[in-house]
């Protein structure tokens, strides 16, 4: 539609008024020899092309334009698609990297106590506000009790095992134990 509109807007051209106008007239005469003088002002017939021909011509031109630009756009689209893919891969990799770094800031610590006679063993520590609820060790068939806790690296912690809900003991497997100031002791661990 734009093409036909342009054709209609060609308007009239006055001969001799401007070298550009003269060049345009010469071009039109060359292009449309059967319609010499058409579209020129000064006695000539106004420039008027057959509308259907103009539209057909415009459509053909636009089809070629689309075809051409489609061919030209294809590599660009591929680049864009690949760039998007690369961005996605990079973003996912970064998320993974962040995850690894975060996980490297903590370490899974397995607390193990051999207490075959115990009915329950809990872990009470400064990292759980000395509240053993939720930190029950699981008993294995050989009488060992264990729990794995993720802890932040780079610092030390104090802890006790609580046997049967009432007996607080230090970890017998480590030498790091300190007087707690309340008449008992706590084990310490550095990560």
């Amino acid at each position: 539609m734009k093409s036909s509109k342009r054709a209609r807007q060609a308007g009239t051209l006055s001969p001799g008024s401007d070298p550009v106008v003269d060049a345009a007239r010469e071009f039109i005469e060359t292009r449309d020899p059967g319609e010499a003088g058409v579209g020129l002002a000064g006695g000539a017939k106004p420039f008027r092309r057959d509308r259907r021909m103009a539209e057909a011509s415009a459509d053909a031109i636009m089809a070629r334009v689309r075809q051409t630009s489609g061919r030209n756009r294809a590599p660009g689209s591929r680049i864009a698609m690949m760039a998007i893919a690369a961005v996605l891969v990079a973003a996912l990799s970064s998320i993974a990297t962040i995850g690894i770094i975060r996980s490297s800031a903590t370490v899974e610590v397995r607390f193990v106590l051999s207490a075959p006679e115990a009915s329950s063993v809990m872990l009470a520590a400064d990292f759980n506000q000395w509240t053993p609820d939720g930190y029950a060790l699981k008993r294995s068939p050989d009488g060992h009790w264990e729990i794995t806790v993720p802890l932040q690296k780079g610092k030390s912690y104090a802890y006790n095992f609580v046997i049967d809900g009432e007996r607080w003991i230090v970890d017998p497997s480590t030498a790091s134990r300190l007087d707690d100031g309340f008449g008992g002791s706590s084990s310490t661990i550095s990560l």
């Binding site: 590599p75 591929r78 680049i79 690949m82 760039a83 893919a85 690369a86 961005v87 891969v89 990079a90 973003a91 990799s93 970064s94 990297t97 962040i98 770094i101 975060r102 490297s104 800031a105 903590t106 370490v107 009470a124 400064d126 990292f127 759980n128 506000q129 000395w130 509240t131 053993p132 609820d133 939720g134 930190y135 806790v149 993720p150 802890l151 932040q152 690296k153 780079g154 610092k155 030390s156 912690y157 104090a158 006790n160 009432e166 607080w168 480590t174 030498a175 790091s176 134990r177 300190l178 007087d179 707690d180 100031g181 309340f182 008449g183 008992g184 310490t188 661990i189 550095s190 990560l191």
Partner: protein, 277 residues
């Protein structure tokens, strides 16, 4: 094809550039993370350890902040399960805590110790006595740290607790002061200083009944913080002290071995060789 190759190369280049751009800030994240001890629902970072906002070491200089912290402690004492079990000694606890908090001691150290004591079923009077002694140690540490912007508020309670524990277990004040001063001047994490104090205290405990001089063992803390060991290796040093004592190696020789190995940038293996050949 050349055009496609260059397009792929460009895509790979930009992808890698983006990867690097995204990765660098991620790596710059502090390993300390959020300050939580673990990822369990009942973590150490929750509760009152993370809520302290006034920097430690500015004891007495920000009365409004410390006054607010003292009020926070009273509120905690009134509202917490632990506090409600200590109503008989509530006023005594407040009388102990208030001057300490005003001197710059984070109030969370009081609540942390009270939690531990109540969980262990300690009698209220014993808790008061223990906290009175602890408060004196904490106030001394607040004096050492006065005027400094170290440690960060988030790390301060742990450092205070570690220092008091180390002093309680026989580490000399000079050793604690040396470790804290070194860590502060070198920008070392407060958690590392706390771990060094805890490990040194454990070594002192190993040799407590021996004929060693506490002053000599105090060097262990300084050697730990100066060494190239990471905190995760500290416990191995305490275990080695235990083995060394069992093998008849006295405290003086143990410290000499630490100086000859860890004190010169050596590793745990070097320390082991120094001790056991």
């Amino acid at each position: 094809m050349a055009h496609h190759h260059s397009a792929r190369l460009a895509a790979i280049f930009w992808g890698m550039a983006l990867l690097l751009a995204l990765s660098v800030p991620a790596q710059a994240q502090p390993s300390g993370g959020s300050g939580t001890g673990n990822d369990k629902p009942v973590g150490s970072g929750g509760g009152d350890k993370g809520g302290y906002s006034a920097p430690a070491g500015r004891g007495g200089t920000d009365m409004a902040a410390s006054g607010s912290a003292a009020a926070d402690f009273e509120v905690w004492l009134s509202s917490s399960r632990e506090g409600q079990r200590l109503t008989s000694v509530r006023e005594r606890l407040i009388a102990i805590a208030t001057p300490a908090i005003e001197a710059g001691v984070p109030f969370q150290v009081f609540s942390a110790r009270i939690r531990e004591a109540v969980a262990k079923g300690v009698a209220p009077d014993i808790i008061v006595q223990a906290l009175e002694v602890d408060a004196g140690r904490w106030m001394w540490l607040a004096g050492v740290l006065r005027g400094a912007d170290w440690p960060p508020a988030r790390s301060a309670p742990d450092l205070y607790l570690s220092a008091a524990s180390a002093l309680r277990n026989g580490l000399m004040q000079q050793a604690v002061s040396d470790v804290v001063t070194f860590a502060r001047s070198s920008g070392a994490p407060a958690e590392k200083a706390g771990a060094a104090l805890t490990t040194a205290a454990a070594i002192v405990t190993v040799y407590r009944n021996g004929d060693s001089l506490p002053g000599i063992l105090g060097n262990a803390a300084v050697l730990m913080i100066h060494s190239r060991l990471n905190v995760g290796q500290y416990a191995a040093v305490a275990d080695m002290a235990n083995r060394a004592r069992a093998a008849g190696i006295d405290a003086g020789r143990f410290i000499a071995a630490m100086e000859a190995s860890l004190g010169r940038g050596g590793t745990l293996a070097d320390l082991e060789r120094s001790l056991f050949g």
